[in-house]
Symmetry: D2
Subunit: 314 residues, 4 copies
Amino acid sequence: MQIGMVGLGKMGGKMAERLRRGGHDVVGYDRDPAVSDVSSLEELAERLQAPRAVWVMVPSGEPTRATIEALAGVLSPGDLIVDGGNSHYVDDQRHGAELSAKGIGFVDCGVSGGVWGLENGYALMVGGEPAEVERVMPIFQTLKPEGEDGFVHAGSIGAGHFAKMVHNGIEYGMMQAFAEGWELLEASDIVKDVPGAFKSWRQGTVIRSWLLDLMVRALEEDPDLERLEGYAQDSGEGRWTVKAAVDLAVPLPVITAALYARFASRQDDSPAMKVVAALRNQFGGHAVTSRAGSVEKGADSPGADVAPPPEATG
Amino acid sequence: MQIGMVGLGKMGGKMAERLRRGGHDVVGYDRDPAVSDVSSLEELAERLQAPRAVWVMVPSGEPTRATIEALAGVLSPGDLIVDGGNSHYVDDQRHGAELSAKGIGFVDCGVSGGVWGLENGYALMVGGEPAEVERVMPIFQTLKPEGEDGFVHAGSIGAGHFAKMVHNGIEYGMMQAFAEGWELLEASDIVKDVPGAFKSWRQGTVIRSWLLDLMVRALEEDPDLERLEGYAQDSGEGRWTVKAAVDLAVPLPVITAALYARFASRQDDSPAMKVVAALRNQFGGHAVTSRAGSVEKGADSPGADVAPPPEATG
Amino acid sequence: MQIGMVGLGKMGGKMAERLRRGGHDVVGYDRDPAVSDVSSLEELAERLQAPRAVWVMVPSGEPTRATIEALAGVLSPGDLIVDGGNSHYVDDQRHGAELSAKGIGFVDCGVSGGVWGLENGYALMVGGEPAEVERVMPIFQTLKPEGEDGFVHAGSIGAGHFAKMVHNGIEYGMMQAFAEGWELLEASDIVKDVPGAFKSWRQGTVIRSWLLDLMVRALEEDPDLERLEGYAQDSGEGRWTVKAAVDLAVPLPVITAALYARFASRQDDSPAMKVVAALRNQFGGHAVTSRAGSVEKGADSPGADVAPPPEATG
Amino acid sequence: MQIGMVGLGKMGGKMAERLRRGGHDVVGYDRDPAVSDVSSLEELAERLQAPRAVWVMVPSGEPTRATIEALAGVLSPGDLIVDGGNSHYVDDQRHGAELSAKGIGFVDCGVSGGVWGLENGYALMVGGEPAEVERVMPIFQTLKPEGEDGFVHAGSIGAGHFAKMVHNGIEYGMMQAFAEGWELLEASDIVKDVPGAFKSWRQGTVIRSWLLDLMVRALEEDPDLERLEGYAQDSGEGRWTVKAAVDLAVPLPVITAALYARFASRQDDSPAMKVVAALRNQFGGHAVTSRAGSVEKGADSPGADVAPPPEATG
């Protein structure tokens, strides 16, 4: 079928390619004229036959919002927009209502697959009215991986991105679980072949998974991960997961701990730990590492006392 | 090769069967004469040709300890014991030292695979001296899954069980991550097809894994998990993981949270939360759910005041 | 000075009383005519001399919003509203902007003190323009405790409730710390006199605090907290604290854990733990506690095997 | 009464002084002859009249163990040793049994009070047989603060240090709660007067406490805590608390999070976060901060694509 694709970056460009390989007629628009088939959204609308379907694949938040608003200005009643970006489900619900007022349909679609999607297909989690989801089903069929899985129509508008958000929350927890296991193995001197242990787990174990496969690959390239810093961004979906859980009074200790570990990894120094150091200094005369690099003698400072006394307290 | 197998329960029995299918000569001993090839450990030692190899597959802790001590009394210098149970790595180190004093070799082997191992093979994590590991390599080769993974000689004595312990710690974190994701999806009314979302994730996503496959199977059998209670045992290895981390000053927030969630699941009522309720009652006159089922009127109790006031505090 | 007080419930009624004892002229309004000085907000506005000051002391959220909107309709430019409820700081900023457009001033004030405030005074955390805060300073001076502390002008509009929100977040963490300590003492059979231990900590220790005093009182009334269920509400400010932290990428592991413990305390059964139970059942044939109360025999079920085998895994 | 004091460091020296001010006859021993009253433990035993009482105030672990063993060699049946250090309760139970075999009594005593104890008294948590505790009660009476609290006979041997251990666990949680609150206030730009907010909380609030007083003092000396690094030791008792909880299946999310925050504060770089970074790089081509300081272009790297695409995943 024919579809417009707005945003031909790393994700959108590859998805357009997979769709073309699948026989679809893709008209692409991007701010970069070098990769764009049309020079404007107006031209995109002209090139597409009504009723039109346009897939939006730009960053979530303001860029997606601006793109959907601009499209609403050039599309017609009966047309349909699919938001394939990483939008917040709350934004979906607003977008759906605004477009509905203009007679334009809206489907949200969470996409997983990353750089591997072109060849292997993209996992798609979709929200929207059944009739509208049905209209773009040929597109979904081509984008998704072969086989019976990799696609779900999860519910009405917002359900696709909500499901994708929870997927990412689970991913945060799984990644942190592997990370903690690796750190513990490295900290102990008992297991000598840590990459070998990870590799061995790929068969016959409970934790075998694609993330484990990636972990093995990473350790093959850099067995002690010496070339990396312990620094991790978060993409927003982890935060939304935690905030949704707080709103729903659902305890998420593991996913939240994984998110907080990422927050902490980006701090040069922990502000909270300055407070702990300050309090320890106040009540116990504990040794404190000061900015100047000198160390004050404290109760637990070796050599401070002839017979080193026990600490007064923690 | 020839091997003795002590403990022919659910795990040991199936492992003996897999070994026999692989052409090995297994002499089994169990307390239950109905499944045992010999009537005593003495007879087991007689039936095996020196230098003997005996695989111990009984519960960790006291049963394993007692079995190894009894074997030490009937085996000879040059013989070898493999502990395939879920022993603590600290116990391994003690067992290894005690057996070494008698000239008996010792190898520890963490085993993963559960009820699926007979057909698919068992993942094996092994610790011990290279020469001793080499002696029982034919056994390991038969037990492990086909393919290049599923086996690691992780280090010296204790390294096998340490690696298995960490594997289980990672498993705790992964399971809890899936569990939290499911709870959040169920708590929200946005995603209508929760089993469908999990099923869709089996292809093209970052979280695809054997645990996800099992989750899909569980949801196929019982879509809302209505037939289960939210109650989970822990097997000891999660506890050892956390204690090892505490000893090594390694922060394990996710694995620990997963362990604590299991602890909490087994409490009829949370003692800690009684304290929180008691304190809230003391400072704020907050509504308290008492044992008697009656609810005292408190500051946040609707109807307690004509114009319900804000809470004084948390 | 003269002030209107809207909301004469448990908090507002006592604050009005403390203000009258301090010589202020308080005109109170409540939906309950039995405690109200005037029959409507219109009459309240008539009774107060311009420029008027009105303290709003009703539940946060919709009741506060509706009250402020209604007051905006009866007050005049130059008047001032103080929101003493537990409002979200984001609501304050909206209320401030809306009132400013009508020439009406706005000050937000977080209040701590609970049922003890009438006698001991209320801790006040205030946000707003300096000139407007100054106008109601006589009121703050009377409400606050004697002494140099108990009052802060923390910043512009929203700062008062933000500071109160963080105060409550800290309170959540402290309460949970005491709660965990008590649970651990009770779980061990080493310390026989748990109430005595708490009482002893009131002097000379690092943890002496008002919450400890309350804890001692609670244990005097009910030494084993038998009369309470482990069930705790949360007032909203804990949730806002966590959400603010997530927005600001600040890790709050302790405050969040305290909030989640409250969430979990209100669940009859943990949905997440059903998943853990289901997964354990899938991979290991682990014993599962089913709704029907029967227990399936599993790998770790005593008696399931003649020589109980080790668990396959966690 | 007469008492020997072994260990005259920062804690023991001040305790000896408080005892002398209280009229007791203290014979002190320290490895440093400059502060010691006797030149050896033998001489200490000679100087004390039987039945002797000796207070041991040296670091926990090996120093305490060695001191108690040495004392056991010079004391006589009927004598009594008090361990006032921060010993593990498990060590107490071993020491008690070993001394009992020689007819020597043993009392364990957890001490809180730090550098403030000389003037204000020390909080004492005591374990042991009633008759033996009674024998040294005059010493406890002088050491403890004035007033009815500050002392508990918590149970038999080990109960004193167990209670002190839990006290310190609670302390960890409380300190972290204040620390997180401060970090959140600092991270937001809404509250301008953070030290003022803390100071205000000293009266009328739920969180007023000695730790808050110390926090206010610390912020008076260094309002932004600029002179400190976010680096905190742990004294061992936090670790024991967590391990005791794991043994007893008691969930301690807050105290554990506080301990882990200290562990993390001492890491230059988080090993676990290297794994998260490595995995993100593997699956998403996410930007990675490498050791060399250069940043690889990734999916979320501004400028990497003309229309920046959404991330494939978290």
